[in-house]
């Protein structure tokens, strides 16, 4: 078994298993604590958590060839749609003790899971039970951020991103947008949905850096990496 950095990308690692297959991983911020049953791996005295591309769209995006990532140690991230914290925990791993993740989630039931599994152990994660469509309502809990990561299965996804960026994203900040075509409009072709959402982003001052489709990890999903100019 070998663990090495993922093509020079900070905080993301590739684990080569004995059977020749390889998986993504992040360095565990809180050793020995699992978040969603993922395998823990020790390598040269450091503990890594395997990052499942079938459960995390960000990992899927890396597997599907997302080459650049603005995620670095020490950055502040606004995470919209934290759910029970699967992906969020890996982002927390990457930004480390000096970074911060503001996890916004709307459902109290899911937020309970998020608190129990992730927030309890990770001091760099701030939970926010709120509606991502109304950024003004959590302005008293969030600081300016370097990156917004958004995965909220909602119509008007891009608009939600632009609105949040207006509040919280610093100049030149980056954003990840996981688009679920079926949540936006089931009656339209996914490609049509993607095109419209990209349009909204461009009008909102974002330049599109990279679009990756997430099949086979997630059908009809795409990950957009974009930057505010």
């Amino acid at each position: 078994m070998k663990v090495k950095l993922y093509e020079g990308m900070e905080g993301v690692y590739v684990v080569e298993l004995e059977d020749g297959s390889s998986r993504l991983a992040t360095r565990n911020l809180v050793p020995s604590i699992k978040v969603y049953g993922e395998p823990l791996i020790r390598y040269e005295g450091v503990e890594f958590r395997v990052w499942d591309a079938y459960r995390s769209k960000l990992a899927a995006a890396f597997m599907k060839g997302l080459k650049t990532s603005p995620l670095r140690e020490g950055l502040k991230v606004l995470y919209l749609g934290a759910a029970s914290g699967t992906t969020c925990s890996h982002v927390s791993d990457i930004v480390g003790h000096k970074g911060r993740v503001y996890g916004v989630e709307f459902s109290p039931r899911v937020m309970r899971e998020f608190l129990e599994r992730v927030v309890k152990y990770r001091k760099n994660v701030m939970p926010i039970l709120a509606d991502a469509r109304l950024p003004a309502e959590y302005a008293h809990m969030v600081e300016e951020v370097d990156i917004i990561y958004q995965d909220v299965a909602q119509p008007y996804q891009s608009k939600i991103l632009v609105d949040n960026a207006d509040f919280y994203l610093k100049r030149g900040g980056w954003a990840f947008l996981a688009i679920k075509a079926r949540s936006i409009d089931v009656t339209k072709e996914p490609s049509e949905v993607y095109r419209r959402e990209l349009e909204v982003l461009k009008n909102g001052g974002f330049e599109i850096v990279h679009v990756v489709h997430l099949e086979p990890y997630d059908v009809d999903h795409a990950m957009i990496l974009t930057r505010r100019v």
Partner: protein
Amino acid sequence: MKGYVIVSFIGLLLCNDEGKIIDKALFPKETRVQADKLHLLSRGEVIDEVKELCEKARSLGIDQLVLENPLIAKAFAGYGFHNVKVEAPNDIAKIMRSQLLEIAVRLGYALNEDEAVRMLHEVTYNLSARKIVEAVEKRDLLVAQAVSCLDEIEKVLNILASRLREWYGVHFPELGNLVKDHEDFIKALLVIGHRDNIKKREVLEKLSLIRDKVHKLIESPGTSLGADVLPKDVEIIKEVASITLNLYDLNSKLRRYVDEVMGEVAPNVKELIGPVLGARLISLAGGLERLAKLPASTIQLLGAEKALFRALRTGTKPPKHGIIFQYPEVHKSPKWQRGKIARALAGKIAIAARVDYFTGEYVADELKEDLEKRIKEIKEVYKEPPKKVVERRPKKAKKR
């Protein structure tokens, strides 16, 4: 002069239009208290710090306050500051957000940035935890769970009852044909046991409900079509039967419970469409609050999401009703009237849910009356099935 109010975990900051902090009303340095204050504030309540900052602003000659959060702005207006404006987002607040933790340290609120982060973590944790508890304390969610459980038990009951009919039928098939109701059948099975027992007087007495039928059976010529079985075969069947019977008890207990709690949380909905169907609607909507905020058109289709999306996707006919199909006037009416009745019913349910959630008055009788009137009207006006018109071709299904 304009003053910008910045709300954060350390308290309230007052800034001028250059982004300088000109005054402040800080919270006590205890994360539980900080969370308390922010919680009250975000519900629009006037807390001491609001009063303090208002007074300070006045003495500084500030006549307009600018905030980002409309609810918190309400708290300021509630304390009597007349000129409160919401500008969201605004540049001053953005400047403050970009140096929030440094400010906390600079004002002496936290020793260093690490401590500020720890505080922020605890405050946000406490706030979320509190909101979660508030959300789960709602009794309408209990009733939603209960009605889902009811549905599951009914499913199990049907399966077990059918199984018992088959199983006992190997030995005594005539009883199954004699007693149609599942619960009565299981009761009879438990009394009889081995089929030879039906000839015993004390067994017959216990079968008062079906005594006449059993008499006929005994007197009829010919033998039973069932196989003879051992006592232990009957014993195990009786064991299953008695547990199934217990489930029937549980089922009616749950119904009484749903009835009772629906009377507490949604009396109008309960009266209008019955406790169980009402509870199912609450369960499908995800709570009384959400049901109360849904448009009638959505209520009409709750439970028919699959059909609705199929219709949207392929251009077939949209569904007329979801779960409210279970309302007798809907499913007993002829097909061409159902959609109209469902629409009328959904409209009344929407009103009932809103009254239940927002005011709590009792208006169900009027709603029922109106609904009955409308249903009568529909039945008269649309008595005959509509004439067949040349059917428009459904939109061609899109290829994916």
